[in-house]
Symmetry: C3
Subunit: 138 residues, 3 copies
């Protein structure tokens, strides 16, 4: 069994952002030399997310509105977690979007349907944060 | 390390549907001959879901209402994604329900609690769509 | 390839509870002797959850309010699933929080960011329920 590990770093200019990281993950996979196995990609922070969906800007605005409806950022005082911090909404938003994805590796490729793309979802940005890529297989 | 891969195809008659796919997954597992490992089952489309819950029709109606409350299908114009398409709500519903499940394989069986069943959740059906089953182990 | 399996049991005094199980999972990992691989931790019941977030009581109260807003426990009659049972809300709450986490194992440790902690989320407690830990690797 082979295994591979890499950290990817992000520092967004806005509090919230969606970044397509598919090409970076494919680069990790090539580097690993693994042809058959499973790839785990997860946010290493608890106010961000890794998820799979469509690379379509209209949909990303819909996600933003959807998340703001379910877990609004403001008023900050509505959350017990906010005191020294103001990011309770980011913890809730990341919960809806998910921490991680697990992807099948087949013939050295991400085994994806036609529109699947991997995104980093940032909900409390403007500082350096990490994503972990771990691949096991042969 | 052994690995196994299979696609399952679905074409629902309604826009939304929940289909119990546990028996199909168990058939894949038998076919794989894998006794110890991990099984990944994921929707290959970004408007459908694979999730684990109860096979109870009342609960499935509750899921339908719950998802319609959080991400209503109509009016279509409420979503920026809808223009050529009308399925923005399906992208959001699938996000809540999840893309994938990872299941432990022990002694050649899905290592499940008493009521765990695997479902395909369709949110934009009436066309052929796929689920991926990938198993790694020994 | 090595594999390891363990069940952890919980019996909460309240209907809903969040329990930090990180130390228990680390104990499983030590017991397994696995240094590189993937760890799956999932609820074996469909009204509870395993998720990763912050060990901060204020945030847990925020989660409770958030979940009660999206899928309120009462009135019980609002759910078709409730008749012999009263736990439809628990099925929905677990769906939002997630069934499982997959964690990278590197150098014999949970490969975590600075604040990641694993929680058991109970939404229909006061009875013995199980979590599964499965580790594969080398």
């Amino acid at each position: 069994m082979k295994s591979y590990r890499k950290e990817l770093w992000f520092n967004t200019e806005t509090r919230r952002a969606f970044i397509n990281i598919t090409a970076k993950i494919e680069e990790c996979l090539r580097e690993s030399g693994i042809k058959e196995g499973l790839l785990l990609c997860n946010a290493m922070h608890i106010t961000s997310s890794v998820f799979i969906n469509d690379d379509e800007p209209g949909l990303h605005r819909d996600f933003e509105r959807f998340l703001e409806k379910l877990a609004p950022e403001k008023p900050y005082e509505q959350y017990d977690h906010n005191g020294f911090e103001d990011n309770a909404d980011a913890h809730l938003k990341r919960t809806i979007m998910g921490r991680e994805v697990v992807v099948a590796i087949t013939d050295g490729k991400l085994d994806f349907g036609p529109w699947e793309q991997i995104f980093y979802g940032e909900f409390d940005g403007k500082r350096p944060k990490r994503v972990l890529v771990k691949i096991i297989g042969e």
